[in-house]
């Protein structure tokens, strides 16, 4: 597929639209989560603000912005304030390289199907994720509270353990796609078949390690409410807490988008190439399905114990991911 050049201001407008769309997607992910969790627990979920509670995220935002931005007297001001900003920024930035369409020509101007097409976009996403973790760790440390400190330590241990398995699980996809560029991987899946069939073990490892990376239940030990109050964001309130929540949910969306891109053919509509120009719609549908699956997982499974978490990460996921990568490499070299 040829990639025409895009005017810089077209890319800028595209970036603004995508960032805002991601924020809206985040707001309605919280709504969807509360609604779906409610129904799974025989409750209604939010149903007061607007029809079906659809205005609930906006009401929450107004409440958080108006709330006092309190911080503990013994906290380290600069780190305490910058930690949520860092986390939220890196989470949003990851969306710059995720492709959502084949590219369009409108009125003579070419519009890319992604904001930035980097040859190493997959590595960039993992690097940004690793920087974002600093926000969670530093935020917990800078608030000078024992619960936040324990939450930070758990975040540290858990994310380091599962990042290895997560990175190894996409190794098979990189080998089969013969590129680290997400655009090339999607093109490759269109040419052959969606990678979730040959890389099913890789997909399972990716989703499990990804759940741990975004510290969602059942891997939510860093912020286990019943043990640590709220983990690293115990001492945060108002919109600073809101930024941490934003970062967490956008990380979930990025993870789902990455899974869609790597394993489910990205924006491609299966079998009908003429429908591919509606790429963003198919992308959003696949994304929504995966996010719902994560919410379903949260509703269904109890939290792991700490030793179970470590054992699962190091003794099951990591060897499995290594074997998967090795076998894929052998087959790719063998078959050619």
């Amino acid at each position: 597929m040829t990639h025409l050049t895009e005017q810089w201001w077209v890319a800028l407008i595209e970036a603004v639209i995508v960032v805002n769309l991601v924020m809206v997607a985040f707001a309605y992910t919280t709504w969807l989560e509360r609604k779906a969790l409610g129904r799974m627990q025989l409750r209604y979920g939010p149903n007061r603000a607007g029809p079906f509670g659809l205005l609930q995220p906006i009401a929450d935002l107004i409440k958080l912005v108006r709330k006092e931005a309190f911080f503990p007297a013994s906290s380290h001001d600069l780190l305490y304030i910058s930690a949520p900003i860092l986390s939220c920024f890196t989470a949003l930035l990851a969306f710059a390289v995720i492709p959502y369409g084949p590219g369009w020509t409108v009125d003579g101007y070419y519009i890319n199907g992604e904001i930035a097409n980097l040859p190493i976009s997959l590595i960039l996403i993992f690097a940004l994720g690793s920087i974002g973790v600093y926000g969670f760790i530093v935020g917990g440390w800078a608030s000078d509270s024992k619960f936040a400190m324990l939450g930070s330590m758990r975040t540290c241990a858990q994310l380091v353990s599962y990042e290895v398995a997560l990175a190894l699980s996409v190794f098979g996809v990189v080998l089969m796609g013969r590129s680290l560029s997400l655009v090339d991987i999607v093109d490759r899946q269109q040419a052959t078949l969606w990678f979730f069939i040959p890389q099913f073990i890789g997909l399972c490892i990716f989703l499990l390690a990804g759940t741990a990376e975004t510290s969602r239940p059942p891997f939510d030990l860093p912020e286990a409410d019943t043990e640590l109050v709220a983990g690293y964001h115990t001492e945060y309130s108002g919109m600073r807490w809101g930024l941490f929540q934003t970062a967490e949910y956008i990380n979930l969306i990025v993870l789902s988008a990455l899974a869609v891109t790597l394993f489910f053919g990205g924006w491609e509509f299966p079998g009908v190439p003429s429908l591919d120009r509606f790429g963003p719609i198919w992308f959003l549908l696949k994304l929504g399905a995966l996010v719902t699956a994560f919410i379903w997982l949260r509703a269904s499974q109890p939290r792991l114990r700490y030793d179970q978490l470590m054992r699962f990460g190091w003794k099951i996921l990591l060897p499995l991911a290594t074997v998967n990568a090795l076998v894929t490499a052998l087959i790719v070299v063998w078959v050619g």
């Binding site: 129904r39 799974m40 025989l42 379903w296 509703a299 499974q301």
Partner: protein, 164 residues
């Protein structure tokens, strides 16, 4: 290796609930019927001829463990006859922020002048508004709270055993 089927079973349990009706009661729209002997906001009662039943004896105030009732009695006169007895309550106040709704005032009253009603929506924005005067206690409650059927509870088997 029964970990995987057992984990998947958990997903089935949560998915089944999605297709059932939520059991949440939508409170401000739906008022759950109260138990027939529910102890809510107090009421003061009148005789059929319009005279107050309360004679200002202060037995309710004496029985009150929270000390939230204040009664100041006065003599009935021929021109100003308020109650059926010799005396009447010139001031009758209940401090609802202290009341524990035990019903001892109701038990202590020799004339059944005070009873506990079934109104439970008695929140206020101001503490002073929680001091109920005699006029407020004599007035009809503004909101009709549904009361459950008495026959539902007067059964040989206790309600909680029959409905669980």
């Amino acid at each position: 290796m029964d970990v995987v089927p057992n984990t998947l079973k958990g997903f089935g349990v949560t998915l089944r609930q999605v297709f059932r009706k939520p059991i949440t009661q939508q409170y401000p729209e739906y008022l759950r019927p109260v138990y027939p002997r529910f102890r809510g906001r107090h009421r003061l009662h009148l005789h059929e001829n319009g005279l107050e039943k309360c004679v200002g004896c202060s037995l309710c105030a004496a029985a009150c463990p929270a000390d939230c009732i204040r009664v100041v009695a006065d003599e009935n006169t021929a021109e100003n006859r308020v109650s059926a007895g010799e005396r009447y309550a010139r001031i009758y106040e209940i401090n609802m922020s202290r009341c524990i709704f035990c019903g001892y005032c109701e038990l202590a009253c020799p004339f059944d002048a005070i009873t506990l009603g079934n109104d439970y929506e008695i929140s206020e924005y101001n503490r002073d508004d929680l001091i109920y005067t005699k006029d407020m206690l004599l007035a009809e409650p503004q909101k009709k709270i549904p009361v459950a059927d008495r026959d539902l509870y007067d059964t040989p088997i206790p309600y909680y055993k029959a409905h669980s």
